[in-house]
Symmetry: C2
Subunit: 464 residues, 2 copies
Amino acid sequence: MRFLPTALVLSCLAAAAGLPAEVSAQSSRPAVSSIADAYGEAARRLIDAALADSAAYKRLTQLTDRFGHRFSGSDNLERALDWILAEMESDGLENVRGEPVLVPHWVRGSESLELISPRRQALPMLGLGGSVGTSPEGVRAELLVVRSFDELEARSHEAKGKIVLLNAPFVSYGETVTYRVQGAIAAARAGAVASLIRSVTPFSLRTPHTGQMLYDPWAPQIPHAAIAVEDAEMLQRMQERGERIEVLLKMDAQTLPDVWSRNVVGEIVGWQHPEQVVVTGGHIDSWDLGTGAMDDGGGSVAAWEAVRLMRDLGLRPRRTVRVVLWTNEENGLRGALAYRDAHLDELDDHILAIESDAGVFKPRGFGFTGSAAAYEIVREIGTLLEAIGADDVRRGGGGADIGPIMRKGVPGMGLRVDGDKYFWYHHTEADTIDKLDPREMAECVAAMAVMAYVVADLPERLPR
Amino acid sequence: MRFLPTALVLSCLAAAAGLPAEVSAQSSRPAVSSIADAYGEAARRLIDAALADSAAYKRLTQLTDRFGHRFSGSDNLERALDWILAEMESDGLENVRGEPVLVPHWVRGSESLELISPRRQALPMLGLGGSVGTSPEGVRAELLVVRSFDELEARSHEAKGKIVLLNAPFVSYGETVTYRVQGAIAAARAGAVASLIRSVTPFSLRTPHTGQMLYDPWAPQIPHAAIAVEDAEMLQRMQERGERIEVLLKMDAQTLPDVWSRNVVGEIVGWQHPEQVVVTGGHIDSWDLGTGAMDDGGGSVAAWEAVRLMRDLGLRPRRTVRVVLWTNEENGLRGALAYRDAHLDELDDHILAIESDAGVFKPRGFGFTGSAAAYEIVREIGTLLEAIGADDVRRGGGGADIGPIMRKGVPGMGLRVDGDKYFWYHHTEADTIDKLDPREMAECVAAMAVMAYVVADLPERLPR
């Protein structure tokens, strides 16, 4: 990492010259002494424009109403991408294109879980992404409930031939999601014929949550599904009372051959350093239920709208600002990997990548991963967002889609929001537009716009 | 109504004599000056016993885990009643019995709603109780969305041959439920072929809510179902954008011949006035989804446990305390009507009826319907519940199951609780034990026990 003292960067700002007519905000000012001074007016214009209406919310509403979910491999997704490409063109973005990505094509099919003993009852469930299916007659077996991987290991002699339910209470997403991702591996190693997890959520209205899971090449592939918190706890109690529990799991899930999808890209080309790029985006794919309004239609549209606002306001920065709507984040990350590979030669000129994938709730600032010198700069840019309370730029942050290019050295940044209820809706049927607020979403647009624009326009490139 | 001044009642208390050995709490005191003095120790004993453990919550857990929902006409319900009768016997309650009630037998069958145009998508739904079904191929028709009965009337010329969606936002349950109950009548009168409502709830995770509905003998019977708030709003937006909306509704619902169920009754017979009765209870039936833990397994078990505690503590009151678990509140109120009819000759000696059907959340007090003189007395009894914050006894209140006997002159009372989230779970799959708290439920037991015991034991009967 190279370090560049903040003072040096700031002195460079004072030397800024040759601003194009479009960037009138700064050019009419005297020699500037800080980023806040230099970009105060541009920031105000972007914020005012973002908050002037509910354009972003309306666009997201249209996207979600019109196409429904946008799951990798679905027609929904590709038709949504066609629409976005056309809209970006009509917005006047430049170099609008779909960059091809080969994505997995997992299909859920019909699925069900029935409690057979001690009494019969249908249990709401969702197969987990990538799971194999069952035979048409299903897997009928006794159930073993465990609270943790440790307990599964301790009771592995009881697991053979059974269906294992991993009933791990929600601690944090990062911790508890391990049961979703790794649960089938652990259960298969213990000899289970299928595995269930308690949905990864702190709140439930009998709501199953789907999500991606993995197999281990050295363990059998067994069907893996999520049930509601309520039922996981009920089954736990039944086991604790010594009742014999039997369930019947049916899943038609299968993985079809990969299909082509696209990362959607649109730009405002930099007037001075067109080859230098600030990337801002979210992932445009969703799970196959709900409409992916929060995860991550909102982040995608916020990033897109941020760039559209620059265009509408005539704010063309020194460097290129590129909105990227990655495909297939949810069950493959193939869009992120394809972007990295397609732009491998350009990554040294990727100045910053900003992702929004935590829901477009009330924004609080950003999390930044990069050098200390760069952090000082982006933190100062953050002060331009005080008016909307989004000025808290912290160390550490990024996003799944920018992860692959961050690992190649590109500084990364994630939009930070009030996420209290994010995991109530995450990967469920309830991820719909009504969970978001037009004003909060507009503030996210403002935050993304100001950060992306200023970093792209700084006289000196953000140090690595 | 006869009015009896509080002072007179209190003077009667001082004259209380001949207390049986079981009621040692009061008998060891000097001449009493108030209800609070006379019953302070008994109240403390009941409260302490209720809060000593999670017995009520455990009993409710067992009920709900073991039998699932308890819908009228189901085997589940009758097996649950058998179990309760046996448990009440082993608790030592007296005159334990099931009083026969003929109940409706509506069966949901399989059901689905699919959006066909402008795009295809399955929409979560629940048929409403009592609705007719569709033909096997379903009803496929254009959709008309309205916000209110007024709008339906104004646009009735557009409704003919269509499916009408009544998308009325939640104002209060009492107000908004009209659309569920009367929606099919209004839609049929306008010529609609089926009707849908937005579920009656202030919060949704794409959660449909069922409930009872009515037909008008002078209007055609059309299928009537509830959809999630999220989808109702989406369909509203589609209509506002001028899109043609078409849906396919399939419902196998049918009403089978009435079947026998039971009101479950158990007592502690009064030592002085066995013919005078204080009734306390809830309804033991539920809808056919979830496990009816909140509505109203909780109220039923709380009332039952209140009486069991009196029995366990040897607190036999002057009058009979009778727990009644009414059947078929949800879709017929037949249990309440049958109770009234079976006990018509005894209603003059029904001193008070106390119902818990608002969820056994944190109790705050009671709502009382009766004379001013009686109100003064029950309000004073309420002060005995200060320790658990359930001392706020207000005017007005009762319950659906005690409604028929209240209309015959029996003073009525409903347990008041913190009900913020009641309608999040109401009539959904999410009405499960985990929504309740053991401590709060124990406090409900305490409140019911103290109120029922003291009213049953007062030297003078509660004035009408």
